[in-house]
Symmetry: C2
Subunit: 246 residues, 2 copies
Amino acid sequence: MANQLHLSIDRSSPVPLYHQVVQGIEAAIHTGLLEPGSRLENEIDLAAQLNLSRPTMRKAMDELVRSGLLVRKRGVGTQVVSSQVRRPLELSSLYDDLTNNGSKPTTEVLTFAHIEADPATREALHIAAGAKVYHFTRLRKVGGKPLALMENWVRDDITHIDEDLLKAQGLYGILRSGGVNFRLATQRIGAMVANDYQAPLLETEPGSALVTMERTAVDDTGRNVETGHHVYRGDSYSFEMTLVQR
Amino acid sequence: MANQLHLSIDRSSPVPLYHQVVQGIEAAIHTGLLEPGSRLENEIDLAAQLNLSRPTMRKAMDELVRSGLLVRKRGVGTQVVSSQVRRPLELSSLYDDLTNNGSKPTTEVLTFAHIEADPATREALHIAAGAKVYHFTRLRKVGGKPLALMENWVRDDITHIDEDLLKAQGLYGILRSGGVNFRLATQRIGAMVANDYQAPLLETEPGSALVTMERTAVDDTGRNVETGHHVYRGDSYSFEMTLVQR
DNA sequence: CATGTCCGATTGTTAGGACATACTCTGATT
DNA sequence: AATCAGAGTATGTCCTAACAATCGGACATG
């Protein structure tokens, strides 16, 4: 039980202490040093061992509980959750879900335009009549196999976008380089069957299943930066996420 | 700017103070008292007005930031996010997503059995060979229209389940009554086309689009309580969620 | 006029202490 | 022997108190 997790805390680092603890415990869990189901020492002792205050220790554990790695129970203690659950850990995030998947995706830009926003886009991005947006469609392939057909609308008052940029890196990478700090996004996931336009591009048959995703992303200043409508091949893509009960 | 949000804090209530603040601000936002985009007063003044300490106030605002209602910026202040984003607020939770939708859903139990778990179920629920589970399929209708076809496997060492119970209330209601405190769930959302078994039950055509969802739920003791495989009519159901950047 | 610098405002981080509440186990009582 | 009460332990909530980091605008300087 008394797992001596010898974390090293660097007080001169710019990384907050509680976050160093989070990283340390995460690492200990992933390397197997902390076994699934094992109990951690109590907050106070742990804090004392690392020369931290209890609030700092608690804040670190709070984050780990929230992300689903730990489970706390009053009067009992804190446990590492069973490994069976932990595999699909990260919830589908604001980042393109593909870039961290080993095989590098390639992107083909099918259409690109800088146009006046239509009413639906104006509402989604919350911009005034007459404002212009970038509108483009892309085809994303992984390992030569088409995976997703993506249509996006982006405000043009944030950063310059062109075809070459889109070919070189993901949309979110471009926007972040342009100084955008994403805060939240709403998305809706559903299903449809491939039509005659989508099927040949995705190299599948009309009538096959597609996963659809609509998303609008907002930055830290409250601007609706981007909205998009994506479809994925149903036989090779699904959204995986971990829900944490609050 | 100086929004006088006259929240009432009841110190004798068993509800934690920070949670009372969360509820109060949520209510103020939903009733329009706090307008989208408006700035809140700073943490210290707000805390002083309510006779709370700053950490308590901060904890409340932390939750609201995490749920996507507020946005904070160091050196600047705290804002209510734009209303455009807030509509599809709650992320699809552990609860049945339908019960809070106005029209009451009805549930038909198609099959019900108490059987020995097959290998796939044993792995999903992390139970030993020879253990038994409840296995059942249900058809859920809203307003007389079939919406979802659900197949579930549930551990039998938690609470008794039978057909009548399932007809009367949702699975999660039954399990919570049985003393289960859900902590987290992993789910995977995808797409498929309706086959000859599913189509007539869902009153749609074979070949139409279906949203698929696989989920495994875990309680606060780390047990994998339940796993399920659901399909929804693609033309009338989609998963809506808000992602918050951490 | 353009640019760099300082300063106030506001959130971010950390500390240390106190008491409340829930769970578990043990010992006492019936 | 079974049941109940209480002690011990661990997390949950709340407080006071600092100092750090960052942002934005005001101000000074070239």
